[in-house]
Each structure stands twice: as C-alpha cells, then as structure tokens.
C-alpha cells in the first residue's frame, strides 16, 4: 500500500535513505543539501537506522570517506551541493574509475560567482564527464523514486559505477508537495542486500584499489569504464521496469509529454519540466501542437533515443540551466545537436539558457519560446541558435 504524504524534496531523499538503511554516510553541510545529512542524523540518533554517520571536515573528505567505505565493502553515500561538489572533483573521478557503486544526493545549486545559493545545474553539469551516472528529478516524488533505484543500478555487476541523484535546490528540495511513499518491506526487497564481489575487508580474497597504472594498461581501464557506463543504459531500464512493478510509476531515460504529434518540442531537465507541461496543456487548448521531452538520465547520454523522439518535430527548444562559457551552446544543447547531426536528423533547434542562479522560469517563458520556434519555422524569422531567456531588460 502506498502511503500518501507531503514532504519536501530533501525530506523525500532522507526518507529514501532511511528505508534503504545504508552502511556509511560521511557528509559535510552545504546549502541547500544540508537538511539531508541532518535528517539522516536524526534517524540514526533515534535508533531508526544503523547507518554509521561520519562528520567530516570538508566535502573533499566526505567523498574520500565515501569511497573508502565503499571500497571496504560498505554501502555508502553522501550529499552535497554547488561548491561542495566542486571540492569533491578529484574524488568524483576516483569513485567512478575505481568502479565504486556509491551514491551521491546532489541538490543542484549554482557555482560561484557571484556567490548565490539558488538553483541552476552548473554543479551537476560541471561533473558530467567524471564518469558518474546522473539522474535528474522533476519533483520530490521523482527524487524519492530515483533514489530508491540508485543502488540497484550502481551495484549491478554489469555497471559498478557511482550514481548521482539530482534535484533542483530550493525549488524541489525545500518545497513541500504531495508524495506517495512505499512501505518499508517492498523497498528493502527491491534494493536488496549489498554483497560486493570484491572488497578490501575480505582477507580471503585480497584486492588493491586505486593502484598506479602504467600506460600499457591505463587506456584499457578507461575504455572498460566507458563501456560500463554504456552498459548502464540497459540496467537503468531494467531497474525502472522492476520499480514500476512495485510502485506503479513508470520511468525511462526521459518522459515524453504530448510529443506524439508535436510540431514543437521543449527538451528540458528538472523542476522546470513541470512548468513546461502546464504551459503545453494551455497551448494545446489553443490548438498548438507542442510537447515536452523531460530528460531524466543525462549520463549515460541517451543520444539515439533522444533523436528518435525528436526526429519528426519541426523544431526543438533545448533548455540548459547552466552556462558553458564556450559561446557555442550549453551541455544539453551541444550534445543533442551532435546527436541530431550524427544521425542526419533534420530538426531545427534553438538552445536557450534559462534559470541561472535561481532566476525564475515561468509558464510565460514557455509560451514565448514556443511562439518563437513557430515564428522561426513558419515565417522564417531569424533566431539566434544559442540565446538567453529571462534576462532583465
């Protein structure tokens, strides 16, 4: 039986952690993710879970300790945001390259400067090439559901990679909304016991973690790691299917919302997808054929599947909530355009930068973007291919 409740995105993730009851959680507080370790500490203090909490002195140490615990054979996780993730940079790469199936709850917040505590995706997108699996959520429900699916994906022997479960800082992390929680028993059964094949605290089968590799071998290690990330695609879908059976909620690489006959599609990540869906419903009422493609899995990048979903529309608005400082496009814009080109899909596109450092993104912005796409396609209006929306006049 599902439990109908209301809670914030941070509470939802902390509740998922409680139900999973992982072995070790090292963490260092940073807004807006601080509540997660705080709530988990409460669960521990109340004797509700047996997780070992390690209060470390920095995020660099938080990720180091997470990797250390995971290497020892313990199911481990941490939580962070923004500059905290930046300080973990070196360790993020180590977690992935040492094939540690640990989990990070990322509450997306902009990176400095100007210093700001609000949401954009510059932290998560900055870590997009560290080898982690990245899954993004629209709301508290998805943050919860994604978190429960994290370990079954990470620990699968075909994958053995760390997973970052991302949600938008404040917009979902601090927003109280309705949610359906699972009972503890099916969650425990779904997530299962962690039985690592190889781990440091196993005297019967000694292993080395993180040794030096000479050039004769290092490149093959990288290729193996890249193959594992690609193999995660199949596992992500398998885990989603299994999760649907116990929750009734369906997940994939992305959600296609009213796209089947759409002339114009907005491709977007995170909480703004909900705002876009509302705008799409409003525009559909006016007879506009528009839809939303909400990307859930950013790493591994499902390029083929995205192209397949977009190939029949007239134009796509690709929405990036981060600036890449390259003058050519945001991370999502650049990768989708590369995918479209490689598969010779002739779809016009505009890459919009929106919502930086907490700038609000509204249904009116969505109306404007769809109107601009239509004007570009129907009337030949010249539109910059890479532009900002929501700037002050």
């Amino acid at each position: 039986m599902a439990i109908k409740d209301r809670m914030s995105g941070n509470e939802a993730v902390a509740y998922a952690i409680k139900q999973i009851n992982p072995d070790v959680m090292p963490a260092f507080p940073i807004t807006p993710s601080t509540e997660i370790p705080q709530m988990v500490s409460n669960y521990i203090a109340n004797g509700e879970i047996e997780t070992e909490f390690i209060p470390v002195e920095s995020e660099h140490s938080a990720m180091s300790a997470t990797i250390g615990a995971e290497a020892a054979g313990a199911r481990s996780l941490t939580a962070t945001s923004s500059a905290g993730l930046a300080l973990m940079w070196e360790e993020l790469l180590l977690a992935a390259s040492n094939r540690m199936p640990c989990v990070l709850a990322l509450v997306n917040r902009t990176l400095s400067g100007p210093i700001n505590i609000n949401c954009d995706h510059s932290d998560g997108m900055g870590a997009r090439d560290t080898g982690w699996i990245q899954i993004y959520a629209e709301n508290n429900q998805e943050a919860y559901d994604n978190f429960l699916q994290a370990y079954p994906i990470a620990e699968d022997p075909r994958v053995h990679l760390p997973v970052m479960i991302c949600q938008d800082g404040f917009i979902t992390s601090h927003a109280v909304e309705n949610i359906e929680l699972m009972e503890d028993a099916p969650v425990k059964e779904f997530v299962g016991e962690y039985c690592p094949e190889e781990y440091l605290l196993n005297p019967g089968k000694p292993v080395a973690v993180g040794p030096y590799s000479v050039s004769n071998y290092a490149m093959e290690a990288r290729k193996n790691q890249a193959d594992a990330l690609l193999a995660a695609k199949k596992v992500i879908l398998e885990v989603a299917e299994k999760y649907e059976k116990i929750s009734g909620r369906k997940y994939g690489f992305f959600e296609e919302y009213r796209t089947e006959d759409a002339d114009y599609i907005m491709l977007i990540i995170g909480s703004a997808a909900g705002t876009a869906k509302q705008a799409v419903d409003d525009l559909r009422d006016q007879g506009k054929k528009v839809g939303v493609l909400k990307l859930r899995v950013f790493r591994p990048f499902p390029a083929d599947e995205i192209v397949e979903a977009l190939k029949n529309c007239k134009a796509v608005a690709i929405m990036d909530r981060t600036e890449s400082y390259n003058g050519n496009g945001g991370p999502l814009g650049s990768e989708v355009c590369a995918g479209l080109y490689r598969r010779k899909a002739d779809v016009a596109s505009v890459n919009y930068i929106y919502g930086l450092a907490g700038r609000d993104f509204t249904v009116n912005h969505v109306y404007d973007i769809f109107a601009e796409l239509e004007d570009m396609v129907e009337n030949g209006k010249e539109v910059e291919q890479f532009k900002y929306i929501g700037l002050r006049d």
Binding site: N139, F170, E177, G274, T275, Q278, V363
Partner: protein
Amino acid sequence: MTNNIEIRWHGRGGQGAKTAALLLADVAFKTGAYVQGFPEYGPERMGAPITAFNRISSKPIRVHSNIYTPDLVVVVDDSLLASVDVTAGLKDEGAIIINTRKEAEEIRSLLKGYAGRVYTVDARAISEEALGRYFPNSPMLAAAVAVSGVLDKDTFIAEMQHSYEHKFAKKPEVIEGNMKALTMTFESLKEA
C-alpha cells in the same frame, strides 16, 4: 476560492513566514488537497525580506515557479509596505492580510490603490497575550485560513492541535499558547 488558490507570503527572515506557508500546506494536505509550500530566499540573514508561496488545488500541481498573480497576499511585517510592492499582481477579487497595529483605513492608503479586500490583524498583541512573546506566524496562519477558506475553522483548529503536538513534542508548554493565538485571530481579524 478553495478549488485552486495561490498565496504569497511576505515576511522577514526569522519571523516564520516560511514555516507558516509550510504549515498551511500541511493542514490543506490533510483535507485531501494537492499542495505546494515553498520559500524564496534572498540574502540568508535574520531580518531580510523573504517571500514564501502556497498553491492549493484539487488537481496535481506541476508548476514550479513563483506566484505572480496571487489570490491572497499575507504580510507578516507591516514595515515591508515601505520597501516591497506587496500587492504586485494581486487579483482585485482577491485579498490582502496585514499584520499591523495601524487602523485598516490607514493601511489601505499605503497599498497603492489596491481595490480588493484588505484585512488587518494585530499579531503582536495576540501573540504577546497568548504566548507571552512575539511570534507572528501562528496568528497570520489562522488569518490566511480564515480569509482564504481553504478549510473550515473547526477542521483547522483540530488539525493544528494535532500538528503542534507533533511539532512541539519537546516543548508541550507552548502548545496551549499557540492554539489560543489561533482562536483569538479568528475573533479579531478586521476587514477595512
């Protein structure tokens, strides 16, 4: 109004506007509604202006932006009237509630010609009498419920008793005072 309502709260950091918005989401949820309660932070410090929001609807809520055309505005600190455009976008058929000691007509003159309903409540007097200290959020929560009608008074009072027993499990001595502040507000709310 109970079918789909959007509320914007204006307060200062530390006054509990965010907590009031979350409590309102909480009690509305218990009546079976879909709810959203969320804050917008500016500078993170005591006394800085903050905004919080509620959406309460009979249908699932998907929009994740701030609220620009609210049905109801709640102002937790009347000193904000000088610096914040509190009636911006407020619907004429909506209402505004202001925590103030000023007379309602004097307050209306500060609202840039807002034509809708204006309510005042002296949350300081209520809080000081009921709790012995100044915590404006309980009176303002009761005022928001009374004006919006998102739930009826008796249901609200019963739910809040339950909610405070949970929230103040370690400080049971403040439950009675907070409950008194809620009921006093229903009696002293004034329409200008």
